[in-house]
Symmetry: C2
Subunit: 395 residues, 2 copies
């Protein structure tokens, strides 16, 4: 980096853009993306392509000439389908005016951050956490304040007092990702109520990332949600995505749920970032919601099977530090005697062809861990775990 850092072009860039971190996951992926015997368990995506019925909806839309500018907030068909999905899953009635289509869950986060954070403001982030939220806050000129969670062999837990103590007069929001990527932690109803009470008392916003809501191993159709406890005018913005449920990672379609009176503000922020989502992509997303229940069930079974396989394989070595995930589709684990897991991830993929994400990519609290995505082909998960166990045994 020295040659770059000393250059005049680089130094004339804004400090926020210069300091934005390289994704610790992408760094490892780029080191071995094209390797022939690769078992890629590093990224948060399954290995099934988008199902045909979803692609067909996009193709029909393209063929019908739906290739023009469209509504900034999303087409009414999709917003209606999103509202119905929520009514079905959370109970009660949802107005489509609460929902805004975005160009990925990531963009939903970017827009949520822009809505509630000015330069200099702070956001509390329980960690380990998906790094992109903190990066979006810092690029905006704000600060993401990590609140480390506790790990024991019984699982991860969030100390609410530690969260409360981390607040300062600059704090504007709490980011809560549950079920959590990478740790698999799921906020309990008690956690959610306590966080909401704290946010109400201090006038803070909550950015609720419940993207993995359906990947929940505690029984029932979904994890506990802020939708279970909020009033319509609570300061909660939900970010969500079609990527995980319907194997649409490559489509870059997500949505926001927010109080309807924010509608014009969110429309404006969409206008001034990507100016809307392709109509054909939105038709595909609507098909996913309207016809995708069976496919989603398959995705959930696949994750459950992958999780069972991980539990079985991890029992083969006493060197794994690991707790069974309550949600999402990742094993987040440590290996006794190895602390530098960034180097470990680079070594593992080079020497075994198994791609994992280093825990260091998820903040200091992730140091010493690796993330493995198990929502993939059973033979690959099995083979990947086997290669890892053998490699560890040989060291």
């Amino acid at each position: 980096m020295d040659a770059v850092a000393s250059s005049s072009v680089f130094n004339s860039l804004s400090s926020e853009s210069r300091l934005a971190p390289e994704s610790g996951i992408v760094e490892v992926v780029n080191s071995a993306r094209e390797r022939a015997d690769l078992i890629p368990l590093w990224v948060g995506e399954g290995d099934l392509p988008t199902p045909d019925f979803v692609c067909d909806a996009a193709i029909a839309s393209m063929r019908a000439g739906e290739t023009f500018y469209t509504y900034q907030r999303g087409i009414p068909e999709l917003r209606t389908a999103i509202a119905e999905y929520h009514s079905d899953l959370y109970g009660g009635s949802f107005d489509l005016e609460r929902f805004y289509v975005t160009g990925s869950g990531m963009q939903a986060i970017q827009i949520a951050v822009t809505c509630v954070i000015s330069p200099g403001d702070h956001v509390l982030v329980p960690t380990p956490a998906w790094p992109n939220l903190a990066a979006a806050v810092e690029i905006r000129g704000g600060r993401a304040i990590p609140v480390p969670m506790d790990f024991t062999s019984a699982g991860w837990s969030l100390d609410i007092d530690r969260l409360v103590d981390a607040a300062t007069p600059q704090t504007r929001a709490i980011f809560l990702n549950s079920p959590c990527n990478p740790s698999g932690w799921v906020a309990s109803r008690d956690n959610i109520e306590a966080i909401l009470a704290f946010a109400r008392k201090e006038g803070l916003w909550i950015i609720a990332d419940e993207i993995y809501a359906r990947f929940y191993f505690g029984g029932g159709r979904r994890a506990p949600s802020f939708f279970d406890v909020i009033e319509p005018d609570d300061r909660v913005i939900f970010v969500n995505s079609f990527s995980k449920n319907w194997a649409m990672t490559g489509w870059r379609v997500g949505w926001l749920s927010a109080p309807p009176e924010m509608g014009q503000v969110i429309e404006n922020l969409i206008q001034y970032s990507t100016s809307g989502v392709p109509v054909y992509s939105q038709r595909a997303a609507a098909a996913a919601l309207n016809e995708g229940t069976g496919f989603l069930d398959q995705q959930l079974s696949r994750a459950e099977n992958g999780r069972a396989l991980v539990l079985e394989q991890f029992a083969r070595s006493e060197r794994f530090r690991f707790a069974a995930p309550e949600g999402a589709f990742y094993a987040f684990f440590g290996i006794d005697g190895i602390s530098d897991t960034r180097q470990l991830a680079l070594d593992l993929v080079r020497e075994t062809g198994v791609g994992l994400a280093p825990g260091s990519a998820f903040g200091d609290a992730g140091q010493g861990f690796l993330r493995l995505c198990f929502a993939r082909r059973e033979d690959h998960v099995r083979e990947g775990l086997d290669r890892i166990v053998r490699w560890i045994d040989g060291r």
Copy 2:
């Protein structure tokens, strides 16, 4: 707005998001989007859907299962095609490492602004100008400083001394859109050299929006460009889009050209905004570049015909204030005796069904003007202009 402005949710949003302006174009569009006899000349898009050969490339990609995450900077096939397009159009050799695929020209602007502007910094913007650049700057916490251009019946002109005088110690960049939306002004080679010399002297960045480069009525294949005069390490970021040339407004695909040493910074900013562009959309964009010369020629002819029709019809009334555009595909005109063109645009679409964009949407310097897109069906442009002339005559 009073009820909204007084609410607690609204007031708890960041000031930058609250103050982001509603698009003055979208406001008019939303007032009459579904009207049956509408002649929509308000938005910057043609009326041809994306050609089949472009859609076919996207469909083949979807069918091949290219529905996963991909390279943040864009797929090599598309970056290579963009580099070759530049070599052909501007001469000389272009390295694909200069180019980054973005989720629209708008996102290219957002990323360029984030690269060079910190909160509190200023950008100089000759006006009238497409409003989204200024909005992106203000959302970032910066300030867009308008530099009014001069209008005479001979056309618009930029006073370079006025641009120089507008710079302050906070100024970090100059945004230059040529050919200009909405005015049709095209920067001369002398203009470009003078602006580059000023930027070099003051250490400023130039964000060059040459999206309409091919829509140039001064002879030759393109308008004068910063590519004609820059050295590789000049602080110039180009923003571009597939929307206009290849009838792909709905696809949301654009690109950036920037010094290669910015690569990691731009990759990071893509990662933390939308995390890449769908592979199938990129295959479509590559098809547009590789097989789209004939279609682009049709688009250019269509614009030339539309422009000729505008010149012919505007000669019918002495009340039009108008200069023939040198580039882009808009007529930007005033009507003697009418100063409130926002109200005029709302009245016109309600009473005649002709949709125009109010000049007020393009900054103070656009007050008293209307923007009409003429890159559309000849009968519609003719009928639209006819309705406008008759309506004006009746007042």
